[in-house]
């Protein structure tokens, strides 16, 4: 009996498990998936929790309900991966799993303690919050409900971060939320980012930058946070620019899982080096990486993990047959950007093509307008939660290709 081992039952790992049960002969293969947590979170939904649009229950389900019954699901911490021995050591009962193929989908998470004074300075969860964890998003919701206004500073600590459009969506929703509450004139919104502009890619950056301006949100670009002075309610950059805040919302440093560091398999941020087109590990040919656990230079987002899925499955199956993997992953990302007041923007891009304006043809639902605020894009975003739980995680067919298409785009 051979073993196909998946580490991490988030978006990427769960999709791989659902696909592989249909591909591997159960007489020959055992599929095991390991995760330390019972709950599966719809992470794009965290954004809506601070503003009371979703509550924690709306974005939480049991991981077990999305793992096919033929797959063994183990809840345990992972001690270490020993790739040269093809084995993984778990915390639970000191179990050792020897594998033939390994898929790493251990994801990434925030590390606010990487910034001096952020967590240990006294302001954490008092007037400093994150919204990338369910606890942080819920705590911020409680704070915002009774906030009378002041200076809200949203800061991105360093790139890369999970879902690079989420900070912009937070800003747009904050503008909407305070307007609804009738206190927009009492809230100053500041966006301090290490990027040179609103977004990472030039054309989208200029369009989104204009939107920030129209909504009265002040952009402080090239701001690389060095420390937080929670006593004085100030953040300071490495080149000693200071920004005062009444409420600090942080998007902290994102890093890959601790097990990657313990196993000495990652880069400086614990992301696993992976071939950005084949999704095979650079170092071990029976190790494959999906989603934000890897260092592929694309967005760390569920939509990207989904576009990686077909490529990684095909390449693993080819490898099992002794064939070379195909360099088919193009970095495709597709993001609905919630822009407040029941509108949204859609962007679609890959390694080589930046987000462009135009139309995005989607059979049955579209077309959606690209890089333009529309109500349809908002409803597309809201519908996505249902699609995520009911189709995407289960490895179901989605009405578009993994590779980006130029159809409808104005180049």
């Amino acid at each position: 009996m051979k073993t196909f081992l998946i580490l991490g039952a988030g978006t990427g790992g769960t999709m791989v498990a659902n696909k592989m049960v249909h591909e591997l002969d159960p007489q020959e293969w055992k599929i095991i998936i390991v995760d330390q947590f019972e709950s599966h979170y719809y992470q794009p939904g965290f954004l809506f929790i601070p503003f009371g649009i979703y509550n924690p229950a709306d974005v939480t389900k049991r991981k077990r309900d999305f793992i096919p019954p033929q797959v063994e699901f183990v809840i345990s911490d992972i001690e270490v991966i020993e790739p040269d021995q093809n084995r993984v050591r778990l915390a639970k009962e000191n179990r050792v799993i020897n594998y033939d193929y390994l898929v790493i989908s251990t994801g990434c998470k925030i590390h606010p303690e990487e910034t001096e004074g952020m967590v240990d300075g006294g302001g954490w969860r008092e007037n400093i919050f994150d919204f990338y964890t369910i606890e942080g998003a819920a705590a911020l919701n409680r704070f915002l409900k009774f906030w009378k206004g002041g200076r809200l500073v949203l800061n991105v600590a360093e790139m890369p971060i999970k879902c690079p459009v989420a900070p912009l969506e937070f800003l747009f929703l904050a503008d909407w939320y305070f307007t609804q509450r009738g206190i927009r004139d009492k809230v100053e919104i500041v966006y301090a980012t290490p990027l040179p502009g609103a977004f990472t890619k030039p054309r989208a950056s200029s369009i989104l930058g204009d939107m920030l301006e129209r909504k009265g949100i002040n952009l402080v670009a090239d701001f690389n946070i060095g420390s937080v002075d929670a006593g004085a309610n100030k953040i300071a950059s490495y080149d000693e620019t200071e920004i005062d805040y009444d409420l600090l919302v942080t998007v902290p440093t994102n890093m890959g899982s601790g097990v990657i560091q313990r196993s000495e398999m990652g880069d400086d941020l614990n992301f696993v080096p992976v071939n950005k087109h084949t999704l095979q590990s650079d170092q071990w040919e029976n190790i494959w990486v999906i989603g934000d656990a890897g260092n592929a230079p694309t967005s760390k987002a569920g939509s990207v993990a989904h576009f990686m899925l077909d490529v990684i499955i095909e390449n693993i199956l080819r490898h099992m047959e002794g064939l070379n993997p195909l360099p088919k992953f193009d970095g495709h990302a597709n993001c609905y950007i919630e822009s407040g007041f029941e509108k949204g923007i859609l962007i679609d891009f890959n390694y080589d093509v930046e987000p462009l304006p135009g139309k995005f043809p989607l059979p049955g639902l579209g077309p959606f307008s690209l890089l333009q605020e529309t109500a349809a894009n908002h409803w597309g975003k809201m519908a996505f939660r249902w699609i995520y739980w009911n189709i995407l995680l289960k490895g179901g067919e989605m009405p578009f290709e993994s590779q980006m298409s130029m159809a409808g785009k104005w180049a």
Partner: protein
């Protein structure tokens, strides 16, 4: 005419062919970026970036520079103010750091 004018660069000012890079070009690009002089400490970072790119095929990230070249972050911002990773890549004749996605 400066040597820089004959070299192919992209719209953001990065060299199109890293092989075109010379120390003289680095000095000229640095001047464009507002660095009048390149000290020994600058060169240490530039040499690290070149060596790192040769082995990994990509421009180093901020963390790779601080960890790899042994320069504290604060110091790096003094040497290459504002966006050090991008400035180091540009002056070292490498592509835009891929962390920016």
């Amino acid at each position: 005419m400066s040597a820089l004018e004959t070299i192919e660069r992209n719209e953001e000012g990065f060299l199109v062919h890293p092989a075109d890079w010379t120390k003289e070009l680095a000095v000229e690009i640095a001047q464009e970026e507002g660095l009048d002089e390149l000290s020994e400490a600058h060169w240490k970072v530039i040499e690290f970036a070149r060596a790192n790119a040769e082995s990994s095929g990509a421009s180093p990230t901020l963390r790779q520079i601080t960890n790899g070249a042994g320069v504290p972050t604060k110091e790096l911002f003094k040497l290459f103010p504002k966006g050090p990773a991008k400035k180091v890549a540009k002056i070292s004749g490498l592509g835009k750091p891929e962390g920016c996605v």
